[in-house]
Homo-oligomer: 355 residues x 2
Amino acid sequence: MTGTGVHEDQERRKPATIRDVAARAGVSVATVSNVLRGRKASSAEVAARVRAAAAALAYQADRAAAQLRTGQTDIVAVIVPSLDNPFFTALVAVIEQCARRSRHEIIVASAGNEPETEATRLRALLSWRPAGIIILPCTDAFETQPMLAAAHLPYVVLDRLPANAGADCIGTENADAAAGATAHLATLGHRSILVAASSLALANIRERWDGVLRACAARDLPAPAVLELGLGFDTAAASLSGWLARHARPSAIIALTNFTTLGVLAFLREQGLNVPRDVSLVGYDDYAWMQAATPPVTAVRQPVEQMAEQAWACLLRRIGGASGPREEIRLACNLQVRDSTAPPPREPSTKGRKR
Amino acid sequence: MTGTGVHEDQERRKPATIRDVAARAGVSVATVSNVLRGRKASSAEVAARVRAAAAALAYQADRAAAQLRTGQTDIVAVIVPSLDNPFFTALVAVIEQCARRSRHEIIVASAGNEPETEATRLRALLSWRPAGIIILPCTDAFETQPMLAAAHLPYVVLDRLPANAGADCIGTENADAAAGATAHLATLGHRSILVAASSLALANIRERWDGVLRACAARDLPAPAVLELGLGFDTAAASLSGWLARHARPSAIIALTNFTTLGVLAFLREQGLNVPRDVSLVGYDDYAWMQAATPPVTAVRQPVEQMAEQAWACLLRRIGGASGPREEIRLACNLQVRDSTAPPPREPSTKGRKR
DNA sequence: TTGTACGCGTTATCAG
DNA sequence: CTGATAACGCGTACAA
């Protein structure tokens, strides 16, 4: 009558409750709870009976009920700007490991790069009554800060550090990292550098840009040009070729994000420009493909594991009740020098020598 | 006294309950529930008061309580072999979008590529009492199938399709895809092909390998060699150079996963072999970096969006009560021909012409 | 529109 | 010291 198919066995059936277990073991629900949670001691014999019954029924306490009663959870919510960016998913992967180690559950939401969605998702996350939150705000304005503050729960801001964070922050030394990349190019003899940014509306990116400027100023190099390529990587090539049509070709390019690195690389290939003979390239974020690329890409490596681990540790401290002043931790990046950077070609660089 | 720091405002404070809202609006809890969930009609005036009170208190119904009472959830659990592999995270990203569209929440867990962890995580996921589950088993044995079956809830197996799935399956036409890649190489004139697999213990990979064999047999080509490089990408180079020390260099390589593609590419570069002049390469999975690479990589593109969408649609049907026989959907892949494949070099291929 | 029983696991209180 | 009884948390839904 109802579905004669193979799905017969998948009809919804209620999972066993603590009462089922108690009945089967011939004890009270209190005893079941005590045994399974190891609170009060029980006789070995009773404990064994309870455990057997629980196993036989595949009993698993309902989180909703447990949480409702105790009023506390092992849930940590994580909200990232997007799940399409491997940088963010790498952070999530590490956070997930940390969570597992400390017996927490994480729930992840993506803001889809939109503050409105971030707010919607955050609201949904809060309904889980998480013990804490790790957030990577999708804009500098950090529009959801008030909502987060009003929730009165510990949170940590990761990677993108807005002015109004209002809580502990974990980020990287963006300026130093970019300055290091610039210094590397300067040492090789580059004077005409183009900076490929995603968007200068992001503090991270502005800090990196500032680092480039600082490094150039320190060496009396002309200030590089900067180009905003947007968040996706597909639009990059068009922007770049438009810019190059109106300006002299730089001898080196610094890309400030992983997507822009990809965009620049795709563009250079399309144009038939050889890296590093015609143009040197420093990328950002260090992925496996950068090592496998031809040539392997010199890149700024952000300490993804450390970032996630520090964020987790920091949040756990707050959840545990730590009440000191808010911290702002900045982690150092390092430059992986590979083969995409070399001294500049003779002609173009000499042409612009005298400014 | 307690913490004079900036974290003052983050002291734990209980969120408003439905009773708080009721009191503030001067109505009963039932009315608050009715108004906020739009079930029974209320006078406009009362509704407004309730909404004002709820907004003022930033009231958000506690999921645990709601779920406990209604006995049903909008939760779908997703379990993947690993979160380090962009193929899996891409699937998760699409699933997350689907979930948002149909007003569901997803919770994601990683099995860390280990069946034991898969079981542990699955058990934890079940405690959420999800409405359904999407699983990518981390081995062919699908050790967690009995647990899943015993839970009596709808689930869908995605990507890796084991023999004992016991539920709807969504995968790709692995054999056809690999056969297509092989045919492409055969057409270019390649006769000595090396297949770089991750592990033949995975049905997916075996199917791809079978596809290669089938295509070769159909064209009277000698059966290619196959090499298992493991799941990580870092060990690949070592395995490959070991193999090449004992065998003649093939004129083309087919990589059967994204990680092996990366591994092969890194190896070829290390060896100073030019692609495609010395060796042609067909990769698997199509990522942005493959287009940006030099040369852009010819690759089998798996329909990630469709896979996730079909899995979601399928699961929703079951959650909705559909009871037909279990489905097995296989989606077609297509070959993105780019510049990493070309006719074989003269010498090495002629050497082996006469078998 | 309201009162209130209910769902399920936890824990304080009480009995053996 | 072991084990049982019952109140409780919070939102939902039915009866009133």
